[in-house]
């Protein structure tokens, strides 16, 4: 028998947890019973290409620009990098599925097309990539994919294994080709054995200042009902076909040009007042004169009687 160091042993046994999680993922209930789940387990140094992808971007664009490419991606990257550097890298379960084939024949319309056949035609001619995955998706297959991923999360949670499902690293694993034949991929980070590693995010404090965070909040709150989610400078929607116009971004910041414009307006207002005010003064003078004249008119006899 050997004496085992607890932390290292817990780290080693993450693979056991991954196995149980994948069982739950593959056997989850489905509405369609037609979803084919795929998965790959990324362990140890196999994770490095994902981190290198962000670091390559950083080399090309600089740190600040990389943080802005897709802000939540950098937040998650730092969690991975810190865990890796501290010697307890999480496992990544890349969970994916092909949601782009409408073969149910339900013609339910949830995807936006009247029939599954129309969906498939559009998909063939116009389908493509977004920020996280490819579209369009069969809504019920997407729903089932969500169920499968949730079962994976629930399995991890039931084993009390630290975890978080990430769209960001799903995108990275999708782009780098960790999983073939899928249109959607999410990354379920499993471990490290540290309290709330993916929620407390201590690594954030190394690069996000309170001022940064306040700026993010101020920029986003100002356009809260028209913005795209949580970018450093949110893209803002508008009336009409706003998606066909050049994008507009919201920002709370000093604006000297607008400040000068405001001052110019203020000056013009003052000048206009000075120009018009003498006329009002003249009116008031005339009114005063008229009041005096009315007061000096002699009263009639009947008025005198009433007064007495």
């Amino acid at each position: 028998m050997a004496l085992l160091e607890g932390g290292a042993f817990a780290q080693e046994r993450l693979l056991d947890a991954a196995g149980h999680i994948l069982h739950a993922y593959y056997k989850c209930p489905q509405v369609t019973s037609r979803l084919t789940q795929k998965a790959v387990v990324v362990t140890g140094e196999e994770l490095l290409p994902m981190l290198e992808f962000i670091e390559t971007l950083q080399g090309k664009l600089g740190k600040e620009a990389t943080q802005n490419v897709f802000f939540p991606l950098y937040v998650d990257y730092m969690c991975f990098r810190t865990a890796f550097d501290q010697g307890h890298p999480p496992l990544v379960l890349v969970l994916g599925a092909d949601l782009g084939k409408a073969d149910l024949g339900w013609d339910c319309g949830a995807c936006g097309f009247a029939t599954c056949a129309e969906f498939n035609r559009y998909r063939k001619e116009h389908g493509g990539l977004g920020k996280i995955g490819a579209g369009p998706c069969c809504a019920w297959k997407n729903f089932d994919y969500g169920m499968a991923c949730d079962y994976a999360c629930a399995a991890a949670s039931e084993m009390n294994v630290e975890n978080r499902i990430l769209g960001t690293f799903g995108l990275v694993s999708f782009a780098l080709g960790y999983l073939d034949g899928v249109t959607a991929a999410l990354a379920l980070a499993v471990g490290p054995a540290v309290e709330l590693w993916w929620y407390n995010r201590p690594s954030l404090a190394r690069w996000r200042t309170a001022e940064h965070i306040q700026t993010l909040f101020r920029n986003n709150y100002t356009v809260h009902y028209q913005m795209f989610s949580s970018d450093l400078r949110p893209a803002v929607k508008g009336d009409g076909l706003w998606w066909e116009r050049p994008r507009e971004f919201g920002q709370v910041a000093p604006d000297p040009q607008y400040e000068a414009y405001k001052n110019e307006i203020q000056g013009a207002v003052f000048e206009a007042v000075l120009a018009v005010r003498p006329k009002v003064e003249a009116l008031k003078a005339r009114m005063e004169q008229r009041s005096k004249e009315l007061a000096s008119v002699p009263q009639s006899d009947s008025d005198k009687e009433k007064a007495s």
Partner: protein
């Protein structure tokens, strides 16, 4: 001492109702699990309704049968009819609806809804004002579900449904999600704020009512067979002599005596 007696049959007997009450308790916990499921950005996105009772479940089942006979549902007709039986046989129905997919896309430009056009795939197919979808305009709806929907929210509803099912599994209660139940319930006014609704049938019976289902289940199922037995037995019992006048061992002879047939008398 108060006593709770639980028994599956006869249906809707006091003992069966007691049993159903326990399933309802489980379904309430499932409902909570649906709310606490992981979701993108932690934004609340769903509503839930729990339905039980003979009349209420019958109403949903009949709506499913009605939908099964519509020409536009020809390809799903069998599903609607088969699953309508299950809606009757369930102890209760948990409905989960996605309140955001139709009206308030997640705006993450994720691409799931329509690829390169980003969120515009959804927005360009709706009437909008000030960058918002005009939720009051339902004139575009030509299908059972008024799509396109934001697929982030649709996927999130999958998480909610799975968490509910996970709790059912932990409590050893049978449960299964169905598109057909959700569509019918929505048409009846359940989960009013949602466009995409899934119905989870829940039961705690010896035989899971939602699996091992054969063809033509809508006409050959336990309820129909029992009803058929009742009908045929009632008719058949009337073709036998009265038990007080003619004991079974004399049945044939006694009948012959009365009929006056000499051969039978021997």
């Amino acid at each position: 001492m108060p006593r709770i007696h639980s028994k599956e049959f006869p249906w809707f007997s006091p003992s069966d109702l007691a049993r159903r009450q326990h399933t309802i308790q489980a379904a309430k916990l499932m409902m909570n699990a649906a709310h606490t499921a992981p979701c993108t950005g932690g934004v609340d996105h769903m509503e839930a309704e729990l339905v039980w009772g003979e009349k209420e479940q019958e109403e949903i089942a009949q709506k499913m049968e009605e939908l099964s006979h519509l020409p536009e549902n020809k390809r799903t007709a069998e599903m609607y009819r088969t699953e309508a039986v299950m809606a009757r046989e369930a102890d209760c129905i948990l409905l989960l609806g996605d309140t955001r997919g139709r009206n308030t896309p997640f705006d993450a430009d994720c691409g799931y809804c329509g690829g390169p056009a980003g969120c515009a795939f959804v927005y360009s197919r709706r009437r909008t004002a000030s960058g918002q979808i005009d939720h009051t305009d339902r004139s575009f709806a030509k299908t059972l579900i008024d799509g396109p929907l934001c697929q982030v929210h649709v996927q999130n509803l999958g998480y909610s449904a799975a968490s509910a099912l996970w709790i059912a599994r932990s409590l050893l209660v049978d449960a299964r999600p169905f598109m057909t139940v959700g569509v019918a319930a929505k048409k009846l006014g359940y989960c009013r704020a949602s466009e995409f609704v899934v119905g989870i049938l829940v039961a705690a019976t010896s035989k899971n009512p939602f699996v091992d289902v054969h063809y033509d289940y809508h006409v050959v199922n336990m309820g129909r067979i029992i009803d058929s037995v009742r009908k045929n037995y009632i008719i058949t019992r009337q073709f036998a002599p009265d038990y007080r006048l003619i004991p079974p061992e004399k049945a044939g002879k006694a009948q012959a005596v009365r009929s006056g047939d000499p051969k039978k008398e021997e």
